[in-house]
Symmetry: C2
Subunit: 366 residues, 2 copies
């Protein structure tokens, strides 16, 4: 598909090539979690007639690379899976602008990449602003390509009701992610955390809408709907997918505070400097005595945190017991997912693969 777009856009001349190159480079990375859940959603409810495109091997498949040799069912599920990855890439590109993140997937984030082009070319004007413009437009372009692929998947689906159901999940996901991300940004702007119970509700809402549903439940439901899932199957996949998504995001929150830069591809303690009011952080604050909490609040969200301060905040969070509580929550969510999965009226082989992918999601072991 990228090749088709490149050809179609040739009339716009050679200056457009850096934009299309960055699109291709950007899509080469990532763990393709959403694509994997989407393919497994499809396999949960139908025999998808391909063997070479299972969830482990989509790792190496470039978006839009579905080959006609795999058969029409494989093509349409790969189109849907790639639509999700393209949408995710678009969202990350915009998120990195919003979060001022300079790295992504071990490379400069898109706005940094375009700012670098500007610097190298000795253009006039502000390199950072050019970086911002390039990233906004690349995100927009990928969002529209994502939509094209989803459309192609739906068009190739003979069962019109199934196609419509898949679209509805896709549409809802997109709206929820944009609004969830807005709420996330808003949380960071509040001068102080809300009273604890309310803050936990807020943090959980962001976690559920911005990440948990989006990373696991929605991809599963899109894949399943496209292959004609009935109501009961959708229900069980949702009951499995939501807790897996919650575990996945809680693990992300833990890594955002305690993660190794080598593994996460982001600086250690990134979420602390950014002031992300995650569930982990909210539980930690809740457990602290007043004086300690004031010290915590003074450092938290300071973009200039040094290594020692990061370590001090990490220690505080660990000692507060919040880390243990979040680990328990991860375990509890994965257990709940396992139970839902056991009872789900879906294909047995897909079930086994889903169990293993859920486990890896909770550990971020991809």
């Amino acid at each position: 598909m990228l090749a088709d777009h490149r050809q179609q856009l040739e009339a716009l001349g050679p200056d457009a090539i850096p934009l299309l190159d960055e699109a291709a480079d950007y899509l080469a990375g990532g763990k393709r979690l959403r694509a994997q859940f989407c393919v497994l959603g499809a396999r949960s409810v139908g025999r998808v007639d391909f063997d070479d495109a299972d969830e482990s091997e989509t790792d190496g498949v470039a978006p839009g690379a579905a080959s006609p040799a795999l058969g029409p069912d494989a093509d349409r599920i790969l189109d849907a899976a790639c639509a999700l990855e393209l949408f995710h890439a678009a969202a990350l590109i915009h998120d990195d602008v919003i979060d001022r993140s300079d790295t992504r997937r071990g490379r400069p984030s898109a706005h940094r990449h375009f700012a670098g082009l500007h610097e190298d070319a000795d253009y006039r004007g502000d390199a950072d602003h050019f970086g911002l413009a390039g990233a906004i437009l690349l995100g927009d372009l990928l969002q529209s390509w994502s939509d094209e692929l989803m459309q192609r998947a739906c068009d190739a689906t003979g069962d019109r009701a199934a196609a419509r159901a898949a679209r509805e999940h896709f549409n809802r996901m997109r709206s929820e992610v944009a609004v969830g991300q807005y709420l996330d940004v808003l949380e960071e702007q509040r001068p102080a955390a809300a009273p604890e119970a309310e803050q936990l509700e807020r943090s959980t809402r962001v976690l559920v809408y911005k990440s948990a549903k989006y990373s696991v439940e929605a991809p599963l439901l899109i894949g399943a709907a496209l292959f004609g899932a009935d109501e009961e199957q959708e229900q069980s996949l949702a009951e499995f997918g939501l807790p897996v998504g919650v575990a996945f995001q809680l693990r992300d929150d833990v890594l955002g505070v305690f993660g190794d830069a080598e593994v996460t591809g982001k600086p250690a303690g990134d979420d602390l400097a950014e002031g992300k009011r995650t569930v982990l952080v909210t539980l930690a604050r809740e457990a602290l005595p007043n004086t300690q909490r004031r010290v915590f609040d003074d450092m938290f969200g300071d973009p200039e945190l040094d290594d020692e301060q990061v370590e001090m905040l990490q220690r505080t969070i660990r000692d507060s017991g919040a880390l243990d509580r979040v680990e328990e929550m991860i375990t509890r969510n994965l257990d709940r997912a396992t139970q839902s999965l056991a009872a789900a009226p879906i294909n047995a082989e897909a079930k086994a693969r889903l169990g293993s992918l859920a486990d890896r999601s909770g550990r971020r072991a991809f």
Copy 2:
């Protein structure tokens, strides 16, 4: 449709309301040029069974407001027309961030609106950055809603080939606009204008892809394709639409330099301060003797231009003869459009309306 989305997103809580409110407010404005061309595209090739939703009356129709009382044909063409307006709103919101424009449609632009919310609420962090985040996310949200409406229009189209053709025009338009906008931004970053012939080619390419095709040709073709236009009809509508779009954008360039802030909703001489290398500006530079050109280049693109400097640049452009040449180009393009229209094998009533809308597009008289 906005009401449906609002209801669906209720679970995300009251904090999301400002985002949804701004979506609704933003969509209330605008001249709906694209919606009008889309509806007329449909009427060009088929009898659309509604009388109350012609091109003049879509002015008052809120996106997604198609009523079942109008009949299914009216519903799907209004869905497509509103999809175009939503897409356009999304593009403008992102463009205003990229161009650092503070006003749009006589109101604060979206990023200024969100920055204002931040200031009023006494949040921590940077109000401008929050404005940026809100605008990026609102644009993303509207882009996905646009896509939903286009999808609904296509789903309601019994003729699958017609639906597919309409989608293809829509998809191509989105890609071309994003890449065209990237090229536009790139032009502004170049330290100096290219040699004249090349610069004219560059400026024309941006004009065609970022604006002319997008404003007129694509909406016409989308509407026509959805109602089963044959190849000859599409060809004539393209031959009419492209020169109208070119005239429309050339007029915009003239207004960007000479326009009255009251009419354009933007500060006078905005394009001069921004350093937009439009066809008008390129023709003016071309005609200037070397010394005058150096003076011109020194002022052009300076964001701090004062009124006197703006007037001096305006006078230089007028005296160079470039304004006359652009006026001739506008006339020539409108003439070419009129000729194409006369020969077009389309509905006579739609033809008359298209002629009048083309004329208004060249004069910006809406």
